[in-house]
Amino acid sequence: MEPIKVGATSRIVLPRHVKLKHDTVRDRWILLAPERVLNPDETSLEIVRMLDGVCSVGDIVGTLAVKYNAPSEVILVDVIGMLQDLCDKGFLVSAETVATHAGRTS
């Protein structure tokens, strides 16, 4: 596994072993990995859902900038920070990495 440096042109996805899942019993969305459960906040969740392996980080920021009518430079910094953190923790990988099922949900 190669380290990822998230930038505007990166395409980030969920690796095969991380599942975005609705936890029906507790009524919330979670990211599941071995030995780990993450409960992303609403903003992170919105971004994670947009990780389809096709859109770049820049594309996602563009969409959010329009939706929230906010400057994309500011959003870009936040989005990169959040994605980099999840990549470092192993919850996200680059789309170029083999054996991924982009956006796999259940």
Binding site: E2, R28, A33
Partner: protein, 382 residues
């Protein structure tokens, strides 16, 4: 089975409003499908009284357990043992759990896996494999596991696991007789393309307690290992996640064992006994309920073994008035029992326990003993 460590099987989600309800639902289950295993690791966390094949739950029993567990709120199933791949219905069980939306993790020694079995598990929807290694080099690894050719087999199986597209965690239980190979163990994890490495110091109950003199690391070994893990974490950031379970004996404060007794986790033994942690049977006098007689939901809420040490009401001093009582829940009940004779005592790993000094001295004496020989884990071996 050593591969599951008692620190925190599934840490609570970072923001969890759901946890304010009186009895929170469990998050993870460790399904010990069998106690049978081709290996005989001297630190195995299975009980000294191993359950035999003829008492094991049937396929339908396990499927019902997973269905009930999912309904209760469980999110992850760890298929463990013994060696879970000895169960011919493993793929069927994975498929069932996967169909319920559960995260499926296989905890295995790997020595019985091949490409065909792996393909069946992938088809069944297996999410992740955790593969144990006894050392970085074959001779010592095979001596520890008491299984000829095991290490070589594991290296080959790791490649098959990755080729099947499955993500891999490498688990290494470390102790005096392999800790000096830690640099090589970390390098091996990288070489076999693991995305996560668990370096777990032995925890002493059951078989490991029997083998404490042969396993206890020296203080110097421990300090070197900890520094090495810290450095490797920085060096391999974004490439390999390293989880590190520190040994209690040289600690000042205990671990938050199981993330708190009966809070997020339960274990089902091969015969269907439901345990708050996989070592709970080492505690005399605890009464366990079985999935053969009760539903998972009933057991989670009512089983005496769970309620006995749940929360903080059971605590004696110094825990009762300590401001860390909800941070570590008084540490490990099994260790308290093993070393003080009562599971209701403060874990002696805590500096504030009156038994702490004795524990520390026992560690020093065992580490200095130089005992090379193991009592191997097998039926009748204890």
């Amino acid at each position: 089975m050593n591969e599951i460590t008692k620190h925190a099987p599934a840490p609570a989600p970072t923001s969890s409003a759901a946890c304010s309800v009186p009895l929170a639902a469990p998050i993870a289950v460790l399904a010990e499908l069998t106690h049978r295993c081709p290996l005989q690791c001297p630190y195995c966390s299975n009980p000294l009284m191993l359950e035999k094949a003829n008492v094991e739950l049937k396929t339908e029993d396990w499927q019902r357990v997973f269905t009930e567990a999912a309904a209760l709120g469980v999110l992850q199933v760890h298929f463990s043992g013994g060696e879970p791949t000895l169960r011919t219905d493993l793929a069927a069980l994975v498929k069932h759990a996967n169909g319920l939306g559960l995260y499926t993790n296989l905890i295995t020694s790997g020595v019985l896996l091949d490409a065909k079995k792996l393909a069946a598990l992938v088809d069944a929807g297996l999410d992740h494999v955790q593969l144990s290694f006894q050392d970085s080099e074959a001779e010592n690894a095979n001596r520890i596991g008491h299984y000829k050719g095991g290490h070589e087999k594991k290296v080959a199986v790791a490649a098959l696991i990755r080729a099947a597209g499955l993500p891999l965690t490498m688990n290494a239980v470390v102790h005096r007789q392999n800790l000096d190979h830690l640099a090589e163990i970390i390098a091996l994890a990288d070489k076999i393309d693991a995305s996560r490495l668990e370096v777990a110091h032995v925890q002493y109950y059951g078989w490991a307690l029997k083998n404490r003199a042969a396993l206890m690391p020296t203080r110097a070994q421990l300090d070197r290992a900890t520094a090495m893990v810290d450095a490797a974490r920085i060096r391999l950031k974004g490439r390999l996640v390293i989880d590190y379970v520190v040994p209690d004996y040289y600690a000042k404060r205990p671990k938050k064992c199981m993330d708190g007794w009966g809070r997020h986790f339960f274990n089902v033994s091969p015969a269907g006994k439901v345990l708050p942690c996989h070592a709970a049977e080492s505690i005399d006098g605890l009464k366990f309920d079985s999935v053969r007689e009760r539903s998972v939901e009933w057991i989670w809420a009512n089983s005496e073994a769970f309620n006995r040490f749940r929360g903080t009401d059971w605590m004696p001093e110094p825990c009762r008035s300590c401001d860390r009582r909800e941070l570590d829940f008084g540490g490990c009940r099994c260790q308290a029992f093993a070393l003080t004779g009562s599971a209701g005592n403060t874990d002696p790993a805590c500096e504030l326990s009156s038994n702490h000094q004795a524990m520390f001295e026992a560690a020093l004496a065992d580490a200095a003993s130089g005992e090379p020989n193991y009592v191997y884990r097998r039926i009748g071996g204890a």
